[in-house]
């Protein structure tokens, strides 16, 4: 992304590109060297007697050398995945899984935040360089300032998580350490690199503010992002190894090099999905900061600033959120391809109910995002033209939302619940191909885009001569696309066979994409030299800010939920098919238990974030010098 936006400035960008390449070369070399070391070690451990295969004359001695060479390495035997029994798991009185769950989730929340923030901070900083508008630069710096403590919090939770894992799951961690070996060192080195770039980037902000020094600063930001992302993909490989191990054989003995271990079938889908989701999550969290600052001041200038900051954060969050379903689809498809059983456990088995909760959360996010856009229309004078449409969009969203969260069977009888026993059930079909829900989801996306489009139009008046034709075209596209989405869902979903039902969902998504793409193209052309109506930052009702709190809460909860699903599809395995989980917690808990856990981590995260914001504000607060004793006569 950074490279693309830079391409208009070849002179400077080449420096950046080289830096960019440089960091990747460093990282790749490090990874490669550990890979080689590891491969060499493995090769040694695994060498057995190679078949001789030489026909010899009777009585002639065999070649002694070969035997001597192989005998030397005999001492090490191949390490297979351990098979701990229940008593091998330390019992600390409380559920070990719960402890690790909380620490891991908090670590991941903060990791997601501190990986995402530098990414869009760098983008905003670049935007500032481009436009020459200092406000962007100040806002980027402010985003950085408020998330700075997050890096330390991430490290603290990361350390606690590692400690908890080593203490509570010693056999499992021993095995993981054996498999990943020296890669852990690379991780540590990356961590130091990231800290270095973080502090130089943040504390150097004002020192390297203009001219060529600004490009040095941007390079620091780029390397901060590069090291951060590398840390993420390295850590992701541990999670994906547990879900879909590669580079080991059926009993867990290492047979591949570190690269083969890392590059499992789910690694890249998880990398992409986490990358996008982190941006949405980070945007939502800093948006809450802006909303809080907006609400706690009456100074119009400050309100304008924080309104703008909140709007930008919301924009980042929603923009990153929209492609997320596609990344999720890819991940799910890869899970099915890796193991149909695992895919069904997630989507059709006991965990399938969680996707109803997911629907509630995504619905909340969409409703909050739309509501914020509608409320934001009051900033502009030209929005009256579109306000009449809002109630229809709202109605469509609510109806679709209700359809989406309706399970197959609304009321479950006791016998139906008993039928659910085990890891399968007969009630909930594959949610993904349900025609009614597909209609609902696509219409919600179309409605959200309409809100967005109206918002973007609200401060502009088209001046091109073909504007009426363009509007007519846009209306026609919306109407026909909506009709098409409903027709596809109803006709192929209920009146033809299953194959066409599945196929029609692709055509529905295509219709939605046509609306979005056509909308962007038409509006870009139509409003090129449009007359701009005055826009008043800060003129937004207070209640709109609550949408900016609903977003991070829903995002946090959603992350906790989907992370739980991701981890649980392994069922009773530490490392799927390779190392069984024999701990007392090797079962899938009830949905309410999971809900409680997710709520606990969400609330803890909320408190930690408040602390982070509070610390950020401390730095700009200066205590007044205590007045002399005569001030109030209290002393």
């Amino acid at each position: 992304m950074n490279e693309r936006s830079l391409s208009n400035r070849p002179a400077q960008s080449s420096i950046l590109k080289h830096w960019h390449h440089f960091i990747w070369i460093v990282v790749a070399t490090l990874l490669l060297s550990t890979g080689l070391i590891q491969a060499a070690e493995d090769a040694d451990t695994l060498s057995r007697i190679s078949p001789v295969g030489i026909v010899q004359v009777e009585g002639e001695p065999a070649i002694e050398k070969r035997v001597v060479a192989t005998m030397k390495v005999e001492t090490a035997e191949p390490i297979v995945a351990p098979k701990p029994s229940r008593s091998d798991y330390p019992d600390i009185g409380v559920s070990s899984r719960a402890v690790v769950w909380i620490l891991a989730q908090l670590h991941l929340f903060f990791a997601a935040l501190v990986l995402a923030v530098p990414l869009f901070v760098l983008t905003i900083e670049l935007l500032g360089v481009y436009t020459g508008d200092e406000r962007y630069d100040s806002m980027a710096y402010e985003f950085m300032k408020i998330s700075l403590t997050g890096f330390s919090i991430t490290a603290i939770f990361g350390g606690s998580l590692a400690l908890a894992l080593f203490v509570l799951y010693p056999d499992f961690m021993g095995y993981m350490m054996h498999v990943f070996g020296a890669q852990v060192l690379v991780y540590a080195i990356l961590f130091f690199l990231e800290s270095f770039f973080l502090y130089t980037y943040y504390y150097g902000w004002n020192a390297f503010r203009y001219g060529n020094l600004k490009w040095v600063h941007l390079s620091l930001g780029l390397m901060l992002n590069a090291s951060g992302l590398t840390i993420m993909v390295v850590a992701n490989s541990w999670a994906t190894f547990m879900m879909a191990p590669s580079g080991v054989n059926e009993v867990g003995a290492v047979v591949g090099n570190i690269w083969e271990i890392m590059k499992g079938p789910l690694w890249n889908p998880i990398n992409l999905h986490r990358f996008i989701a982190n941006i949405a999550f980070g945007g939502a969290v800093v948006g809450a900061y802006a909303a809080f600052k907006f609400l706690s001041t009456n100074d119009q200038e400050k309100r304008a600033h924080y309104d703008w900051m909140g709007y930008t954060s919301n924009f980042i969050a929603i923009l990153a959120f929209l492609p997320l379903p596609f990344a999720g689809y890819w991940l799910m498809a890869e899970i099915y391809a890796y193991s149909q059983q695992m895919g069904i456990t997630a989507m059709g088995g006991i965990l399938a109910w969680l996707f109803i909760v997911q629907a509630v959360l995504i619905g909340t996010i969409l409703l909050a995002g739309n509501f914020y856009l509608w409320a934001g229309m009051s900033r502009t004078d030209g929005s009256d033209r579109y306000k009449g449409l809002i109630k229809f969009i709202a109605a469509v969203l609510v109806v679709c939302f209700l359809i989406w969260v309706t399970p197959h069977t609304l009321i479950l009888s006791a016998s139906e619940i008993s039928l659910l026993g085990g890891s399968h059930h007969h009630i909930l079909g594959p949610l993904g191909i349900m025609p009614a829900k597909n209609i609902a989801v696509n219409l919600m996306l179309v409605a959200t885009f309409l809100s967005f489009q109206l918002y973007r139009r609200s401060d502009k008046v088209a001046t091109v001569s073909w504007a009426p034709m363009g509007n007519a075209l846009m209306v026609a596209i919306y109407v026909v696309a909506i009709v098409n989405i409903i027709f596809l869902g109803v006709y192929y979903g209920y009146f033809t066979n299953t194959v066409y039902k599945v196929g029609s969902s692709v055509a529905q998504v295509a219709s939605t994409l046509v609306v979005i793409i056509a909308g962007i193209i038409i509006d870009t052309l139509m409003f090129k030299h449009a007359k701009t109506l005055p826009s008043h930052w800060g003129r937004i009702p207070d209640r709109a800010q609550y949408a900016l709190f609903a977003l991070p809460i829903a995002f946090t909860w959603l992350m906790g939920l989907m992370g739980y699903v991701r981890s649980s599809v392994k069922t009773h395995w530490h490392v799927y098919t390779v190392m069984k989980d024999n701990s007392p917690d090797n079962f899938i808990p009830t949905i309410a238990y999971a809900g409680n856990m997710i709520t606990i981590v969400t609330v803890l995260f909320l408190l930690c974030v408040l602390f982070m914001f509070w610390v950020a504000n401390l730095s700009s607060t200066r205590q007044a010098k205590p007045a002399a004793a005569d001030a109030g006569g209290v002393v």
């Binding site: 035997v67 035997e77 890891s423 007969h426 609550y546 069922t571 009773h572 309410a592 409680n596």
Partner: protein, 277 residues
């Protein structure tokens, strides 16, 4: 401060709302499969069939896919007379397997699901040549031979057909007890034998070679092998048995000992045989 409280209240209320949704949904725990202790010596056929049904519904995770249309992702087994269906399948010209009867066919389908894929149920894009079903004797399901037989018994009995699989014999039981180690051994490099006895047992030398006499079992007796062959020749005969074959014997000795034995094991065996004079 008021603002802060309001925000906290709002956030908390929203969080609790999400939590509340999870309370509305059915509360089911997904237990990890527990290895049930079944006393195989006093097992009746009825027990065996019940065991099979339990395995089919739980540990085997069969019903994850094999369920009635339209929810099934694989043919509906419980709603079909599988014995009658098996004879149809065996008569199908697409059938390429080796099974002769229903029990064989069912076992084959569990061990090697791609051997015969029911039309339209194959993996997408393979034109029904590859099955999406995992091999049932491998991880993550990893049923034992006895367990698979129990499932076959259940599938035969549920539609009133005769059960043709037999109850597990003591040998089967023993094989299940060591099944864990066996699958490990087959899959990879097992833990090296610590003693000579273990090494000889592990590679089953005694099943073909008489150790304490010159009698011929499959291969030559080894009681005096140390006087006939040098240390290196013995080593070579094990590592590459077909290089020099004792006169009059077939090339029957496994050629993969080189890949399976550790150097230490080989040394122990060779040292033992060299002393046999």
């Amino acid at each position: 401060m008021m603002v802060l409280l309001k925000i906290l209240g709002f956030s908390l209320a929203l969080t609790l709302l999400f939590t509340f949704v999870t309370y509305l949904l059915p509360q089911v725990e997904g237990e990890a499969p527990v290895d049930k202790e079944v006393d195989l010596s006093s097992l009746t056929m009825d027990d065996f069939i019940t065991l099979g049904e339990d395995l089919f519904n739980n540990k085997g995770t069969c019903t994850l896919c094999h369920k009635p249309a339209p929810l099934g992702r694989a043919p509906d087994i419980q709603g079909t007379d599988m014995v009658a269906l098996s004879s149809e399948r065996l008569a199908d010209e697409r059938y390429q397997g080796k099974a002769q009867d229903a029990a064989d066919y069912l076992l084959e389908s569990m061990l090697d699901p791609s051997r015969y894929v029911v039309a339209t149920w194959g993996k997408k894009g393979t034109n029904d040549s590859e099955s999406p079903m995992p091999a049932i004797d491998k991880a993550p399901i990893a049923l034992s031979k006895i367990e698979m037989n129990a499932i076959i018994a259940y599938l035969q009995a549920k539609d009133g057909n005769d059960v043709t699989v037999s109850l597990p014999s003591p040998e089967d039981v023993a094989s299940v007890v060591s099944a864990d180690e066996k699958t490990v051994a087959a899959a990879t490099l097992p833990a090296p034998a610590a003693s000579l006895e273990e090494a000889l047992g592990k590679y089953a030398c005694g099943s073909c070679h008489a150790m304490e006499s010159a009698d011929t079992l499959v291969g030559p007796g080894l009681v005096d092998v140390g006087s006939r062959l040098s240390k290196d020749e013995i080593r070579q005969s094990i590592v590459d048995p077909n290089a020099v074959i004792a006169e009059g014997f077939p090339a029957a000795m496994p050629a993969d000992f080189a890949a399976r034995m550790t150097v230490k094991e080989l040394d122990m065996i060779v040292a033992y045989l060299v002393e046999k004079k």
